[in-house]
């Protein structure tokens, strides 16, 4: 069996393979360390980290929907200092990339987070979660406003030399606008998508199912929408893309690569099957062999129009 090249270069960020685990779905890595070999992951995007610890939203926080789930965790996390002190040392033992997902309520918070993490040993990149309310702009989410996106990204850009990933919100009319704004602001890489806003109601009790009323939809249900957005953004901007949204198996992952993502992140699937990321990695390798491809990057963005007609 011939070797297949799996390592990828996303702008300034090198990954040993294109399979990452998405923020909020893999904790700080340690939770999975006895179940899978973390050394084999392309990278770990840690739980969204804020300047100060956050308690998160009241329960219930999660609910299953058809082929998906809504969550309103509310960014419960230990805060950046505890992350560096308590979580990072463990991650430093592994050779996979550690990407810190940061979230702030203001430009300043984002700046401080970037500054604090810049140069910290064991942090390989930052991923900006801009799907959070911008308190300085009346609570509108950074990620749905191209101008706020450009501004927050360029401010963070000035505070860090780390590879900068901007995670796009799908809750927009035209995702290429915020994508371009993020690139203009200095993003090295884009990751997409974050969750779609939705809700669930219990007919019997006539109440919302989430204490927070709304939550973010993830899982297989959103795959067609996420795939479309990755494809559009890949054609609109020049920076590499980390694709995600409903990736449950290797075939799903390959679809994102074909649509134009240079790497993928596995999210909700980690809950359902702790081995998901490993099986996806192995499945991509097998797919490349079957397709006679020697390097994963050769398939990125190669999806073609289908032949008309009814061939199955």
């Amino acid at each position: 069996m011939s070797e297949v090249k799996l390592s990828v270069k996303l702008g300034p960020l090198r990954l040993q393979n294109p399979v990452l685990v998405a923020s909020g779905t893999f904790g700080y890595g340690s939770e999975y360390a006895d179940l899978i070999d973390l050394n084999r992951l392309g990278g770990i995007m840690v739980k969204g980290t804020t300047l100060h610890p956050r308690a998160g939203n009241p329960m219930p926080r999660m609910v299953e929907t058809a082929a998906g789930c809504l969550n309103s965790i509310g960014l419960q996390n230990v805060g950046v200092e505890a992350f560096i002190r308590e979580k990072l040392p463990f991650l430093r033992q592994y050779r996979c990339a550690v990407i810190v997902n940061i979230a702030g309520d203001s430009y300043e918070e984002f700046e401080q987070l970037a500054e604090r993490l810049d140069g910290v040993e064991g942090v390989h990149a930052l991923e900006m979660n801009i799907s959070c309310p911008n308190q300085e702009k009346g609570g509108i989410h950074f990620g749905v406003d191209p101008e706020a996106t450009r501004e927050v990204v360029s401010r963070v850009r000035k505070r860090t030399r780390l590879p900068l990933i901007v995670k796009l919100s799908p809750n927009v009319t035209d995702i290429t606008m915020t994508a371009q704004a993020a690139v203009d602001g200095g993003a090295d890489i884009l990751s997409l998508v974050n969750t779609f806003v939705g809700t669930a109601i219990d007919a019997k009790t006539r109440r919302f199912k989430l204490a927070n009323i709304t939550g973010g939809l993830s899982g297989p249900a959103i795959k067609p929408l996420a795939l479309y957005m990755v494809w559009r953004v890949a054609r609109a901007v020049k920076v590499p893309i980390i694709g995600m949204g409903g990736i449950m198996n290797a075939t799903d992952a390959v679809e994102f690569l074909l649509a134009g993502a240079s790497a993928v992140a596995v999210g909700t699937a980690n809950y359902v099957n702790p081995h998901a990321s490993m099986e996806i990695l192995e499945g991509i390798e097998q797919y490349l062999r079957e397709q006679g491809e020697k390097d994963v990057k050769h398939i990125v963005g190669t999806v073609k129009r289908c032949k008309p007609g009814n061939e199955f």
């Binding site: 329960m59 999660m62 082929a67 099957n273």
Partner: protein, 271 residues
């Protein structure tokens, strides 16, 4: 030690109306599971439902590398589980979570196990452990409650164990009519709980846990509650199983799947 692997179903037999005991070959769980711990199970190949489901370990058969779970058929998952045949496989992650802590010195304490519906299995495993470690049977009181007779779980097993069993159903279809707290009050009324050193362990629906916790608090009895929440991951990463707890400076959320499912009753904030 825990595992995440496809395991063979050894048996899957009805034990009561709509209730099954499934025995699964999984040496890791069989050897390591402690009373109160649970496993995440998956039988669906698709996304209906999306998540795995948590089930308490009911019995362990370490010699043959098996463990079992008792479940009530309720929704999509448990319906699929009920259709599993010996030789087929289920995906098991576990054992997960913490365990009931046995009050010491064990044989001088009155162990009061309060079970509601499918809360019974982990308390059975606890009762079995207590018996096996030499706690006198009259020092183990099990209050087993449910809405109706057919929703009672583990009745025969508790009976076989020879512990003191108080059965209560809300409609009186088995045992005394009433709620588990009525049984607790009766025990208290007869003076069985005072004078004794007593430890309460409880598992069941949230409303029941709260009532038991309040009863324990009122009578100054130490109480451990095993909470039930949705458990998307069971591994401590999704934070979808949060339980509000009291801390030195207010409240905070802990995770039912790794910090629990068993908490000290006084720690939990009942809302």
């Amino acid at each position: 030690m825990r595992c995440a692997e496809h395991c063979e179903v050894v048996a899957n037999r009805p034990v009561a109306t709509n209730q099954f005991e499934i025995e699964i070959h999984c040496p890791t769980v069989a050897l390591h599971a402690q009373p109160g711990q649970f496993v995440q199970m998956r039988v669906q190949s698709g996304y209906e439902p999306l998540f795995s489901r948590p089930f308490s370990v009911f019995r362990r058969f370490p010699e043959r590398g098996n463990f079992s779970v008792v479940y009530l058929v309720r929704g999509a998952f448990t319906q699929m589980l009920a259709r599993k045949k010996p030789g087929e496989s289920v995906f098991v992650v576990g054992p997960l979570g913490n365990r009931f802590l046995v009050a010491q010195p064990a044989n001088q304490v009155l162990h009061l196990l309060v079970a509601g519906g499918v809360g019974a299995p982990p308390l059975y495993l606890l009762a079995e452990e207590l018996v096996q470690t030499g706690v006198p049977r009259q020092k183990i009181v099990v209050v087993n409650g449910a809405r109706r007779q057919d929703l009672l779980v583990c009745q025969e097993h508790f009976a076989e164990l020879g512990v003191r069993l108080r059965t209560v159903t809300e409609d009186g279809s088995a045992g005394a009519k009433g709620k588990v707290t009525d049984a607790l009050k009766a025990l208290h009324g007869r003076g069985e709980l005072s004078g004794n050193r007593c430890q309460v362990y409880t598992c069941g629906p949230t409303a029941m846990l709260e009532a038991v916790a309040k009863f324990a608090q009122k009578h100054d009895l130490p109480c451990q509650v095993s909470v039930e929440t949705l458990m998307p991951c069971g591994l401590g990463v999704c934070l979808g199983c949060a339980v509000k707890v009291r801390t030195a400076n207010g409240t905070d959320y802990k995770r039912a799947c790794v910090d629990g499912p068993i908490f000290d009753a006084t720690e939990v904030v009942w809302e």
